[in-house]
Amino acid sequence: MATAPNKKATQDVKLDSHDPEKVKARLLSKYPPKVARKRAKQIVVNRVDPDGKTPVISSNVRTVPGLMGQRGCCYAGCKGVVLGPTRDIINITHGPIGCGYYSWLTRRNQTDPDCTADGHNFMTYCFSTDMQDQEIIFGGEKKLKQAIQEAYDNFRPKAIAVFSTCPVGLIGDDVHAVCREMKAKLGINVFGFSCEGYKGVSQSAGHHIANNGIFKHVVGLDDTIGEGKYRINLLGEYNIGGDAFEIERLFERCGITMVSSYSGNSSIDAFANSHTADLNLIMCHRSINYVAEMMETKFGVPWVKVNFIGGAATAKSLRKIAQYFDEKELTDRVEAVIAAEMPAVEAACADVRPRTEGKRAMLFVGGSRAHHYQELFAELGMRTLSAGYEFGHRDDYEGRRVLPDIKVDADSRNIEELAITPDPERFNPRISDEKKAELEARGLQFGEYDGMMPEMPDGTMVIDDLSQYETDQLIKIFKPDLFCAGIKEKYTVQKHGIPLKQLHSYDYGGPYAGFKGAVNFYHEIDRMVSSRVWQYMRAPWQEHPELSATYAWE
């Protein structure tokens, strides 16, 4: 049991003058006993051992019906998150109209269609088979086949992907067979994803299915080794509000060549060629670690965790890349870029910090940002009282060290694990064991992610799959200065009089990554915590209801 042994140790730890264990008890008090028992394991008072070990948190477990959490589904994780940002694949949603409709342009994955010669960009379109009741009854394969044909006839794409929704699995449509048939017929790459909404317990299953599909059907199709030095892939960066553009700008300045991006501003050709890179960088560990692992096993490309959220984090991540390639030319350039870019970041931070210092934030976002953005808040002198993921797994919370202890439960058992072996011809370890050991001795971690909890102070509250009720209680108890979550939470939190920063959509701003992004973020947080609007909630006559004024003529 995770919580029992920690209780004693954290007893004297105060969180913003509250006893976090008592807060936890209050969060649980209204739940029926079974729900309280389950939620007790997902609400953890953080405590970090000297060696970085944290309490166990229950995560990636099924959602409690009726509790009103933040989660979406497997389809959203697969089509919406991982494959949505690839501009030159026609993504057909096989299902009734809703799934395609709601994932149509609602995630802000920017793309630059003119950076590849063919100029393809289908991201502004929504393609759907718009299943009707007759397809539910008689099956939808015929319509899907015809839809693929019509997509080809009207748009001449170089690839078509098909995404299954809830009813597809139930009625037994074989989308993979349809894709194989149409691939043979049309002579372009056509592939399918069985990402029915009910699979797994959250978006996370969809990430895994997307990783598998793209690895199986695309990665490795093009062995051309392109030009440029220091060839990397940027994984798990979706170019929300232009984040990846800012990171690409820095790569360019440093002389680092980006082979592919998974999948902000991405193209299918780059995926096909991505196994030729010499290093994988992981931003969002949750959504893309599968591709990184598979690429390492099959092709010998190692990966390191990076974080481009925050000025210091960006500098650190660039240095990691330089450390890996270990050449003076790159190291010098990276240092020169950091030296050139950091002063503006530091100046902006110094300007803003007097107004943000000591403010308190809470972050409940997806599967990676609740961790990454704590770094930015720390730069602003802000404290994170509580954080959590919608759909992170234990390794995202506690670090990959716990991977061997994670048991896959019944709800996630049917998510396919691909059996990957080294490619007989193309496996090529990019770095020798000796070199790896040497770099590790110098502090470069390969294939590691330490998770969010080791970086959070003792007594902070880590909450997985936060519910609406818990949100309301946290706000009433702590009255934080800023709450970070998504669109569904935004206006409920703001009705409490607390500003909410959307860390999915960035409230339509950005970029927030890299050096320029940090500056944008500082200004945005300054605006939010300093806004006058939160003083307007009570009318003058509500503040002083008695008619006690003296009038001039008296």
Partner: protein
Amino acid sequence: MLLRHTPTEIKERSALTVNPAKTCQPIGAMYAALGVHGCLPHSHGSQGCYAYHRSALTRHFKEPVVAATSAFTEGASVFGGQANLVQAIDNIFSVYNPRVIAVHTTCLSETIGDDVPQIVAKAKADGKVPDGKFVFHANTPSYVGSHVTGFSSMTKAMVDYFAESNGQRAKTINLIPGYVEPSDMAEIRRIAGIMGIATIMFPDTSRVLNGPLTGRYKMFPDGGVTIEDLKKTGSSAGTIALGRTASLAAARALDAKCKVPCEILGLPVGLHGTDAFVDTLRRMAGVSVPDALNLERGQLVDTISDWHQYLYGKRVAIAGDPDQVLALTRFVVSLDMRPVHIVTGSPAGKKYEKRLREAVSEVPEPVNVKVPGDMLLFHQWIKNDPVDLIVGNTYAKYIAKDEDIPLVRYGFPIYDRMGHSYFSTMGYRGALRLMEKLLDAILDRKDRDADDITMELVM
């Protein structure tokens, strides 16, 4: 170009929908359920649907949209969602304490054939529904109709579950406003109020989805029709249903169940649409129209005459939901404008299409109509035969930008502008606002296109 691949050549498509002009049923049901006071909408399906529906409504209204979900897993999807729904009902009443839960379904629970009334009965038998609390439901399969169908079904469910006749006829008139903005619902009620008529409006999302910021979050805001009032609808003198596709089912159900006579009208958009509404109200309630309303009408007519020259003959493309599209088409025709490309994504039926074609029968040029159609076809029509103005939801801005045509945002969803939830486009006053928007778009464009010589100060 945002929609750079849209081909000018139109090829018949039978299987592929591109850029839909509709979405799926449950979001409409969720919206309708939010128009009941103290109600928590509940989505009986996997949680992705409810996350999407809440997000879409939130983006449109910039307001909290609360709802719960059964959160199906793969196991439940195979063996049925009874345990999920029973547990959800227990948790919802224990934790959130709504007065009523409105359950709708998704393609998942509909495909597996979950029997919601049976599951709710089980929850009741197990003591999971406290005294004085209610659970009602509508079946909303996403593979039938559109979001408007879902709205219609949930509105009808309010009648099926709650309306009862006490054997007497009250003077109240039931108003079923249709899938319209909270501001429209308030305006429709205001008009009846000016006429001195007591009404029961259902659903009613005004003050639910355009509420105040006070620093106190109320999960169940002050607005919404109460269960008590829903019960009384069965004893009202009559029902006026606005918008056939959204409101007819509930009005007919009330007639069948409680013998409340009903009139089905188009949405009260524009002069004639509002005239029909006011005249029907007057006759049904047996009152005369007060001067205050005659004044509003006269002001509208005055404005139409003042600005007619800029609207006359202007060619318009309209996309949206069927009730809005029909009412708007009638309005712009009454202004001597020419709707030439008209699309609704909802399969509103042959009779609907006939009404739409009648509405444009006097337009002196060919008119493209597609029911149901999508926004790719709409865009292709515009490419082949450009217009002066596009009226549609936020997604139409990609077409407007590509083709450099002014856009008036109208209908659902509007993700990128404010105003719609506070300022109605219905009634005489709403018609003034709608005209203002049409004129602003046309005149801003005229100013933009004018050169230094032809620029006008006075218009």
